[in-house]
């Protein structure tokens, strides 16, 4: 089936309406609004504390100095914001299926995926965003990158691409929910692994570790590969340098694959009956 431009426009209109409703609902309760954002900051903030404490004692990780690790860390946090702000509601896919919400989504004139990701506004994501962009603003100027307009443009593309890598991975795993009762722990595992380990120089996990984190679980595309380009460290990679230069496009590939898988899996959907 060929999707026409008007269908895309319909989807955009639907997502605008759904998003506005979601965010308005989320902001109704002020105290919960604030405490949820603080929760988001705490979630990523502990990781920041972790790296900060380590670097204050060890100074260098795998040949990377404090300021460059900080840049890598900030890039991964900011990229995470590009995933979790628009797509954060994907987290509740299991409930959407178990509570029979997907039955209703099937009846409405908008895509299922669109309705799942606009199910509610992921408030906590604002905390992620605050911390991500804040630390990027703080650490990017201190890194050893000599910033040029071209590099800034590359950075922005890389952040959006990194967000799409995470979104694609989570979309892929969410697709499994149409077959399995619970995929929450699997998705938390993916999220947690990315949170804990994607802001290290990934070549430290030996050749095979690095290759699997690039081509099987493509975590390297989130921040590490683009960071090697910005820092002029592509010669350390066991893969051709051009792959690092086009790494921002990795997000498109991963996301398209994830979405295609999700849409295929919808056919397996069995209503829980309600």
């Amino acid at each position: 089936m060929v999707r026409t431009w008007s269908a895309v426009r319909e989807d955009l209109r639907a997502s605008r309406i759904l998003l506005r409703a979601g965010w308005r609902a989320a902001m109704t309760y002020r105290v919960s609004f604030l405490s949820t954002i603080v929760g988001g900051v705490a979630l990523q903030g502990t990781q920041l504390l972790f790296i900060g404490v380590l670097l204050s004692k060890f100074n260098v990780i795998h040949g990377w100095r404090f300021n460059d690790i900080a840049l890598l860390f900030a890039m991964r946090l900011a990229a995470h914001a590009f995933y979790v702000v628009p797509f954060g509601a994907l987290f509740s896919i299991d409930q959407a299926i178990q509570q029979g919400d997907v039955d209703r989504y099937l009846l409405r004139p908008a895509g299922i995926y669109l309705q799942v990701v606009t199910r509610y506004a992921p408030l906590m994501a604002l905390g992620d965003m605050l911390l991500g962009f804040g630390s990027l603003a703080l650490f990017a100027p201190q890194s050893s990158v000599s910033w040029t307009p071209g590099k800034v443009a590359f950075l922005i593309a890389a952040l959006i691409g990194g967000g799409l890598v995470e979104a694609g991975l989570q979309t892929f795993l969410a697709g499994l929910s149409f077959r399995m009762t619970s995929t929450t722990s699997l998705r938390i595992l993916a999220d947690d692994t990315i949170t804990r380990f994607s802001s290290y120089p990934l070549t430290m996990f030996s050749r095979w570790g690095f290759l699997s984190l690039t081509f099987i679980f493509p975590m390297a595309f989130i921040a590490y590969l683009p960071a090697t380009v910005l820092l002029g460290r592509t010669d350390q990679l066991p893969i051709p340098a051009w792959l690092a230069y086009i790494s921002p496009c990795g997000g498109l590939v991963v996301f398209t694959t994830g979405l295609a898988f999700f849409n295929r899996m919808i056919r397996q959907y069995n209503s829980p009956g309600s």
Binding site: Y29, V31, S32, L34, S35, T36, I37, V38, G39, G40, A42, L43, G45, T46, L49, F50, V53, L54, S56, K57, F58, V60, I61, H62, M124, M180, T181, S182, T183, T184, S185, L186, I188, L189, D192, T193, R196, F197, Y200, M204, F205, S206, G209
Partner: protein, 271 residues
């Protein structure tokens, strides 16, 4: 005539313990991913700490093998005793099931603690998988002496009692407000950091160490593990255990106080 002996009390709680245990085993896939996840994370953790130590013999007086072993053991213990869903209480308040809980002939506190113990026992295979991974990679050290091992067991039990009591205290916020998602996340990650589950206190900056050592969280994971690695002897060892016991008593007293106030706040939703 019904006599409320210790035995009948325990029978009731055993059912709740079993419920907690089974709630872990019922979702086989979740348990499996937990195991796979910890195997992957333990492996990566060993690599991270070994790479960090490249070019250093000792940092803050701690050698590479101790630091690696600490990180692996802490991750294993954390996976068992600090589950993501650490209490069903907030959910039960939101769904109104709390009304039924309160009618049972056992106190709400003991019901919840029994269930939490069940959940932890159910999660033991996850920790075991991480431990085996650590052993296979040569990243785990045994305690120096049998005495250290015994002291560790006592200290770990006190640490777990500490965790369960604070978990329940935090969960009781649900009696005052239902929107506690943010509070729970803040607590989850804050306590993971302050308990030494992520980094031992040895590596914390000098100004932070005294603050953390005055908080109850360090008695959860850092204290037992520092005993495991034989860094406490004689009076210092007994002092650590006494502080841990003290915290458990204080926290439990606090829990009773909070619960007494919460009783007046309970709203059984949909009841």
């Amino acid at each position: 005539m019904y006599v409320d002996t210790l035995n009948t009390r325990l029978i009731g709680l055993r059912g709740l313990y079993r419920a907690g245990y089974r709630s872990v085993l019922a979702y086989r896939a979740d348990l499996l991913f937990g195991v796979v996840g910890l195997v992957i994370q333990a492996t990566l953790t060993v690599v991270v700490w070994r790479v960090l130590y490249a070019g250093h013999d000792e940092v803050a007086g701690i050698g590479s093998s101790t630091a690696v072993a600490y990180a692996v053991l802490a991750a294993c213990i954390q996976s068992v005793v600090m589950p993501w869903q650490f209490s069903s209480l907030p959910q039960r308040v939101i769904r109104g099931q709390i009304g039924v809980d309160m009618m049972r002939p056992r106190s709400l506190i003991s019901q919840n603690l029994a269930q939490a113990v069940g959940t932890m026992v159910g999660r033991l295979p996850i920790g075991a998988a991480g431990l085996i991974t650590g052993l296979a990679l040569g990243g785990v050290q045994a305690p120096h002496s049998l005495l250290d091992l015994l002291a560790w067991v006592v200290s770990m039990v006190l640490g777990i009692a500490n965790i369960m009591t604070i978990n329940l205290l935090v969960s009781m916020t649900a009696f005052w407000t239902l929107e506690i998602g943010g509070v729970l996340i803040l607590y989850r990650f804050g306590s993971a950091f302050l308990s030494g589950a992520l980094i031992p206190l040895w590596f914390m900056p000098g100004w932070l160490q005294p603050i953390i050592s005055w908080l109850p969280f360090q008695a959860q994971i850092y204290a037992p593990l520092s005993i495991w690695f034989g860094t406490r002897h004689g009076a210092e060892l007994l002092g650590t255990l006494a502080v841990q016991l003290g915290w458990v008593l204080v926290l439990f007293l606090l829990l009773q106080l909070v619960w007494r106030r919460a009783v007046h706040k309970v709203v059984v939703l949909g009841g």
